[in-house]
C-alpha cells in the first residue's frame, strides 16, 4: 500500500530535473566498507564483508540525507588469518560482547562539486564518538555512487588494548573507507 502511494506520489513531484530523485536502495554487492591502518609505517588494508546500510540521499537536498550503517565485526578481513582472529579478540573488537559497529549520520554539508562533509556518531565497542566523514557522489547509469572516508582514532574506542595501546607499532589513526551504490527505489 505504501509502495503504491509512493509510486503515485513520486512522478508528481520529481519531474524537475533528471537527478531529482531520492536514492535509497543500497546495493550491497556493489558497496564496501574497508579500512587502512598503519603497522610500522606500512599501510595495511582490510575490510568488513558483512554490513547493513540504510541510506537515503537526494542530491538536491543533501541536508535531509539519512544514513545508518551497521557493520558485522566478525566479517573482518584484516590481511591474514592470524590478524583476523586477533581482531575479533578481547583486546581489539571483542566481538563476543560487541558484535557490531554502527555509524549514524548527523548532518551533511556540501562543499561543492559533488563533495560533502558529514558528521555523525560512530559506536564501536560500546563507545560512541563524533566523527567527520568526507565523501563524494557521482551519478552512474541512474545510480548514485558514494565514496568516502572517516578517519578514526582506534584508541578512542579501546580498539587494540593491552600491549597494543602503544601506537609506535599500530598507529592510532585508522581510515575507514566506504563505497555505496544506491538505486532510487521507485
Amino acid at each position: 500500500m505504501k509502495r503504491l502511494l509512493l509510486a503515485l506520489l513520486i512522478p508528481a513531484h520529481g519531474v524537475g530535473t533528471a537527478v531529482a530523485a531520492e536514492f535509497n536502495a543500497v546495493q550491497l554487492d556493489k558497496s564496501g566498507v574497508s579500512f587502512v591502518s598503519k603497522q610500522m609505517g606500512v599501510p595495511i588494508e582490510g575490510q568488513f564483508k558483512k554490513f547493513a546500510a540504510q541510506i537515503s540521499f537526494d542530491p538536491n537536498k543533501p541536508e535531509s540525507a539519512k544514513a545508518q550503517i551497521d557493520i558485522e565485526l566478525a566479517s573482518i578481513e584484516a590481511g591474514s588469518r592470524e590478524a583476523n582472529d586477533e581482531a575479533k579478540g578481547k583486546e581489539w573488537f571483542n566481538i563476543r560482547e560487541f558484535p557490531s559497529a554502527r555509524f549514524v549520520l548527523g548532518g551533511i554539508k556540501s562543499i561543492g562539486s559533488g563533495r560533502y562533509q558529514a558528521t555523525g556518531k560512530m559506536t564501536i565497542k560500546g563507545k560512541t564518538r563524533e566523527v567527520v566523514a568526507a565523501f563524494s557522489t557521482k551519478l552512474d547509469g541512474g545510480k548514485l555512487l558514494i565514496d568516502g572516508a572517516i578517519p578514526i582514532l582506534r584508541l578512542q574506542y579501546g580498539i587494540g588494548d593491552g600491549a597494543w595501546v602503544e601506537t609506535g607499532t599500530v598507529a592510532d589513526e585508522v581510515q575507514v573507507r566506504f563505497r555505496f551504490t544506491l538505486a532510487s527505489n521507485k
Binding site: 610500522m40 609505517g41 606500512v42
Partner: protein, 184 residues
Amino acid sequence: MNPPAAYTRVAVVLHWLVALAVFCAFPLGMYMHELPLSPTKLQLYSYHKWIGISALLLVATRLAWRIGHRPPPLLPGMPRWQEIAAHATHHSLYLLTLAIPLSGWLMSSALGFSVVWFGVIPLPDLVGKDEPLGELLKDLHATLNFTMLALILVHAAAAIKHHVFDHDGTLARMLPFLQAGPRP
C-alpha cells in the same frame, strides 16, 4: 695485468656487512615466525625486512664492486677439488644472498604486506596479493635459507681450516687484523 694480491678494503667491509646482516636476519627470522601476534612480532618482522632489503642492496653493491675490482686468486698450492669447491661455494653464496632477500620481498608482497624500508621508504610490491603464491614463497625463502646456512658452515669451516691447519693467509685476507696464520 697482474691479478690483485689482496681484497680491497671496500670488498672486505662489504663482506662483513653482509655477514652481519645474515647473522642478524637469520636467527630473527627463525624466532619471529613462531611468535604469537603481538606488537613485538610486528616490530621484529619489520626489522627483519629492513635488514633483508639492506642486505640485498649490500650484495648488489658487492657484485658491482667485484666487477670493477677483481678479487685476488685463491692462494696457490690448494688441491684442485678445493679450488672448485671454494669457487662453487662463493658463487652460490652470492646467488643466495641475492635470492633470499628477493624471495622475502616477493613473499611479503604476495601475502599483502608492503615493505617500507626503515618505516620510511615504501618499496613497490613485486607481485599482487596472492596467498597460495605467498605460502609457496615462504617455503622457498626457508629452503634457500637452510641451504645458505649449510654453505656458510662449509665456508666458515674452510676458512678456519685454512687458518688453523694450513696456516696460510686465506682467512687473513678477509680479516686483515689477523695477518698471516699462527705458525707453530
